[in-house]
Structures are given as structure tokens and as C-alpha cells.
């Protein structure tokens, strides 16, 4: 049903339509205008990312021993909270379950990001394997 017919049935003057439209125009919205929304502008944004270094892959050390029995295993505490106490329990496990393993416990010198060349040299010379605990 058209709006003018509806208003007539309700006993209202179709002139009301005109006044309503005029009021809307006053507020900047013209109901008679086609409802076309202007396209929102689009932009290209630049990446804020830095350039990552290439990854230099290294092969892991060959596993040449099938069993740890009779071998020397270093337990290295890297200095984080609780690592030393956890490694004490690891040492205890070897004592109970693989007593022929020679366990050597060491604490890495220097703060946790630092290397400990002296200890690394000792491990390279003596160890068959190393267990490092970083804790937390």
C-alpha cells in the first residue's frame, strides 16, 4: 500500500509527507535522495617488520653410543631457579637405575645468557653426553 493511501485511511492529510520530508532535509538527510553510500577510500600500508637473518642450520652430534652404560654424562645447571635441585634427582635416578653411568654435575659460570668456555672445553674432553637443565 502506498504511503499516501495509508495516510488517507488513517484520516491524515497527505500533506504531512511534505512537511516530514522538509524537516528531514533541514537535518541534512533527504529521504527522496537515492541511498548510495560513497565507496570508502582504500590504501596500501607498508610493513613495519625488520629483516630477519637467514637461519644457518647445523647437524646435530652423531649418536654413536647405543647405551649410556659405562659412559660419562655431564649434568649442567645453567643457573635458572630449581635446575640444580632437579638435576640432583636426575643424578639419583642414574644411581638407582643405571649405576654404571658416571655422572658429573656442574654449574655453568656467568649469568644465564653467557657462555662458559672453560666448562664447554671440559665437557668436550670428557663427556659422552650432556643433560642441560634450564629450570624455572
Amino acid at each position: 500500500m502506498k504511503r499516501r493511501q495509508l495516510l488517507s485511511l488513517l484520516g491524515m492529510s497527505p500533506a504531512l509527507l511534505t512537511s516530514t520530508q522538509a524537516k528531514d532535509k533541514k537535518h541534512g538527510y533527504d529521504q527522496s535522495a537515492p541511498s548510495v553510500v560513497p565507496a570508502e577510500p582504500k590504501y596500501v600500508a607498508l610493513s613495519p617488520k625488520g629483516t630477519p637473518p637467514p637461519v644457518n642450520r647445523f647437524p646435530m652430534a652423531a649418536r654413536t653410543i647405543a647405551r649410556l652404560d659405562g659412559k660419562t654424562v655431564y649434568l649442567v645447571d645453567t643457573g635458572f631457579f630449581g635446575a640444580d635441585l632437579l638435576l640432583q634427582q636426575v643424578a639419583g635416578w642414574f644411581e638407582r637405575n643405571m649405576p654404571s653411568v658416571k655422572v658429573v654435575s656442574r654449574k655453568k659460570a656467568g649469568t644465564y645468557p653467557e657462555e662458559d668456555p672453560k666448562l664447554w672445553a671440559e665437557i668436550k674432553a670428557n663427556a659422552s653426553a650432556t643433560i642441560m637443565a634450564v629450570g624455572h
Binding site: G50, T51, L85, L86, K124
Partner: protein, 434 residues
């Protein structure tokens, strides 16, 4: 160990699974063998730790010690033996074209923002920012954690933060230090910078009322740009992967930005203490944890202010993991001058000598085991000597008096000061980046 030819296995708590994997991959051994245990291990009793060792790896659900023994003995796979250089992509260089709203959502959803609205770094805006320096867009400004970043890449972050192009030399100088805010530590680092020289007035930086608050565009946006650079120019700050601060740090929104009030300060400017000339513009960067207000802690009567004691009384509450930054309002500085501190060095020296704790307290401090003892074990002085000191021997908070950095800023509406766990890193010329 693996590079030395010694089979190794790392024990990691399960909370750091993603971090361990991504770190191993970045360092060239993506299949590094790891055994996991529950998190955390510290604070557990001997019986609880034994149960962990006798129990299962929470990730693989296999017996923990079997994981360890297998990691050291099971032959390598072809993947374990790979070597050679592999390029890593930084992702697309541009995004869009798209609407501002969609681009904003994209930046946010890809963790490139601080979750506050950004200025979208369009080519035009970045070009405008680049006019703030004479340096070429592709010049490498700095490096951090193996990443490198160019003038243009820094400019993109400066645009996002809302910086005016005139601020750009300051941003480049910060980037040139290689110190990116938002570094990774479980302890949630915070960062501070001190800006000295004529650039402060040229940019209308605030060093009066509300100097450390949100009351000036350069102070606000230069600090914010530093955090955005931390998010984007290096390895990133993805929680659980490249950021693991337990509680986070609200200083990370725009850091502590201090323009020193050189006119009102009775002392030598910070950059001059670091060997620069007064007429040079310089930024100095710090990393640490926090800043805290100090006022009235001790002797703060109307006639007996004792600001030296007030400042030093806060030192024992600071950690020894970092050095110290003291930010003093010019009003407080003048009162200290009246007390006889006519140089910063004289005040640094008094504070250093009067901030001691007993060797027993020193060794029992929370970080002693992970930070102080390992340095003593390495033979680093004075930590090695301090670690062996008798229980009642007094030990200064830091090794040297100039580990206490002093800077003056503020509006002189009250005699305040702030003290923080902040480590001076380095200073960089801003003039070089004009």
C-alpha cells in the same frame, strides 16, 4: 654441545615448549632433542622433584628418563643432520589496498600494534616521515638479535606511533642503539630513555609539570615508537614465543621518556657525564623493571628534609639484577644542592656508600642464586669477593658509584623524586640522524 659433537638433551619446563622450539629453529637446530617436565620446578620439595623425574614427560607422555636416554642414544634422522643457510621471509612488504578499518584490524590481529589505534603507515605518510632525516631509506640503522632494520622500516613504526617527522632523528638514534623495547624475559622488562641537548626545545618536549606523564606529543609518541619497534623490527613480541614476561609491564606502552631539565638542574647534564658536549643532542637508553615514587620515606620534616637519605633508603628494595636510575625534580635537586651536593658525582658517591646491605642479606636475595653467584663463580669482581664476604660485612648495592644514574626533570610543584631498577645501556647521537 651438539655443535661441539657432544650429544645433548635440554630439560625444559612445559610452559616454554613453543619458546624452546622456536629458539632451536632460529639457532639452526629445529629438531633439537628436548625432554619436558612440569612447570615450575622451583619451589618443589625433594620428593616432588623425584616424582617428576620418575614420572612422565607431560608433552610426549612417555617416561621422562626414557625420553632423556633416548635423546642421547637414538640415531639421528636425516632431518637432524641437515645443514646450510636457509633464507627467512619477513612476510609481505605491503598490505592492501584496503580500508583504514580493515588495515587497522589486520595490523592488530597480526600483533604489529600495541592494541591502541595507530596511524596507518601509507606510502605517503612514510615518505613524509622520511623527510625528517637526510639519511637514505635503505640505510641500515641498527641490528638486534640478528635482525637488521633500515631507515624506512624505522619510519613505518614512527608513523604508526603518531610521531611528527621532526621527531624522526630521535627515533633513528634510539634504533641505532640496537636496544629494542619489549625484550624477552620472564621478569617483564621495562625501558627508559633520557634525552638531552637542544633537540628537547626544538621538539617542544615536556620537562616541566607532568614531565613523565601524557602531556606532550613528542614525549608520548617517541616512547610509543620505541615499543612498536620492539614489536616489529626484531624477533617480535609474541606472548609464549618471543615474549614471556610473566605479568607484563605497563611501562611498555610508551616507556619512561625523560627529557632532562638542563636549565633548572644545578648539575652537569646526563649526556655530558657520558662524554658528549652540552650542545649535542643525545638519547641514552636504559632497561630494567620499573620506576617508583619516593617522598617522605625518611627525615622529611619541614626543616630537615634529608633527601639524600630518602633516596638511599629506597635502594635496598631494588634488585641487584639492574643498576639504578634516580629521576629528581629540580626542586628536590636544589634542596640537595643546599645540603652540599654541588655535583651529581658527589651525590652518586654518597648514595653508593650509604646504600649497603649485609653480605648475608646479599646472598639471600631472591636473585642471588641465578644472577650474583654465577658471576662470582666466573671470577667476575667484585661479585667473587662479595660472595665470600663475612655475613655482617656491608656490601654496596652496586659495584660502582656511577652505576647510580641521576637525571633531573619535573615541574617543581613538589619536591619529588623517583627511583628505579634501570640499567644504563648506551647513548647515541641524535644529531647524526638529522
Amino acid at each position: 654441545m651438539e655443535k661441539m659433537g657432544v650429544p645433548a638433551v635440554a630439560i625444559i619446563t612445559e610452559a616454554y615448549r613453543d619458546l624452546a622450539k622456536s629458539t632451536a629453529a632460529q639457532r639452526g637446530m629445529p629438531t633439537l632433542r628436548i625432554a619436558y617436565t612440569v612447570h615450575p620446578v622451583w619451589g618443589k620439595t625433594t620428593d616432588q622433584l623425584r616424582a617428576l623425574v620418575d614420572g612422565s614427560d607431560p608433552v610426549s607422555e612417555r617416561p621422562f628418563m626414557k625420553e632423556i636416554v633416548d635423546a642421547l642414544t637414538v640415531p639421528l634422522t636425516p632431518e637432524d643432520q641437515k645443514s646450510g643457510l636457509q633464507a627467512v621471509s619477513m612476510g609481505p612488504e605491503t598490505f592492501g589496498p584496503d580500508t583504514t578499518d580493515n588495515l587497522h584490524a589486520y595490523f592488530m590481529n597480526n600483533q604489529m600494534t600495541d592494541y591502541l589505534p595507530i596511524i596507518i603507515p601509507t606510502e605517503a605518510k612514510v615518505e613524509a616521515m622520511l623527510k625528517g632525516t637526510s639519511h637514505k631509506p635503505d640505510e641500515v640503522v641498527g641490528r638486534a638479535g640478528g635482525y637488521k632494520f633500515t631507515v624506512k622500516q624505522v619510519a613505518v613504526n614512527a608513523v604508526m606511533a603518531g610521531c611528527d617527522p621532526s621527531y624522526f632523528p630521535v627515533i633513528l638514534a634510539i634504533a641505532s642503539t640496537g636496544a629494542l623495547a619489549l625484550g624477552g624475559s620472564t621478569t617483564s622488562f621495562g625501558y627508559a630513555m633520557v634525552i638531552n641537548g637542544p633537540i628537547r626545545d626544538k621538539l617542544n618536549m615536556n620537562y616541566t609539570i607532568g614531565a613523565l606523564g601524557p602531556f606532550a606529543q613528542p614525549n608520548a609518541t617517541i616512547g610509543r615508537a620505541w615499543s612498536l619497534m620492539g614489536k616489529n623490527l626484531g624477533a617480535g613480541s609474541i606472548p609464549g614465543q618471543t615474549y614471556w614476561g610473566g605479568q607484563g609491564n605497563n611501562l611498555n606502552y610508551n616507556n619512561v621518556v625523560i627529557a632532562e631539565d638542563e636549565k633548572s638542574s644545578p648539575w652537569t647534564s646526563f649526556h655530558v657525564q657520558k662524554g658528549f658536549k652540552p650542545e649535542e643532542s643525545v638519547v641514552s637508553v636504559f632497561n630494567g623493571w620499573d620506576m617508583r615514587m619516593g617522598h617522605g620515606a625518611k627525615g622529611a620534616g619541614a626543616t630537615d628534609l634529608k633527601f639524600d637519605q630518602q633516596i638511599s633508603s629506597m635502594f635496598p628494595t631494588l634488585t641487584r639484577m639492574f643498576n639504578c636510575l634516580v629521576v629528581i625534580d629540580p626542586l628536590t635537586a636544589k634542596l640537595l644542592l643546599d645540603q652540599g651536593y654541588d655535583t651529581k658525582e658527589k651525590l652518586q658517591d654518597w648514595l653508593w656508600k650509604n646504600s649497603a646491605i649485609s653480605a648475608k642479606e646479599y646472598r639471600e636475595s631472591f636473585l642471588a642464586h641465578v644472577w650474583l653467584y654465577p658471576r662470582a663463580l666466573k671470577g667476575e669482581e667484585p661479585y667473587a669477593t662479595w660472595w665470600k664476604a663475612p655475613d655482617d660485612q656491608q656490601i654496596p648495592c652496586w659495584p660502582k658509584a656511577d652505576d647510580i644514574a641521576i637525571v633531573v626533570t619535573g615541574g617543581q610543584t613538589n619536591a619529588f623524586f623517583q627511583v628505579g631498577n634501570m640499567n644504563y645501556g648506551r647513548s647515541a647521537s641524535i644529531d647524526k640522524w638529522m
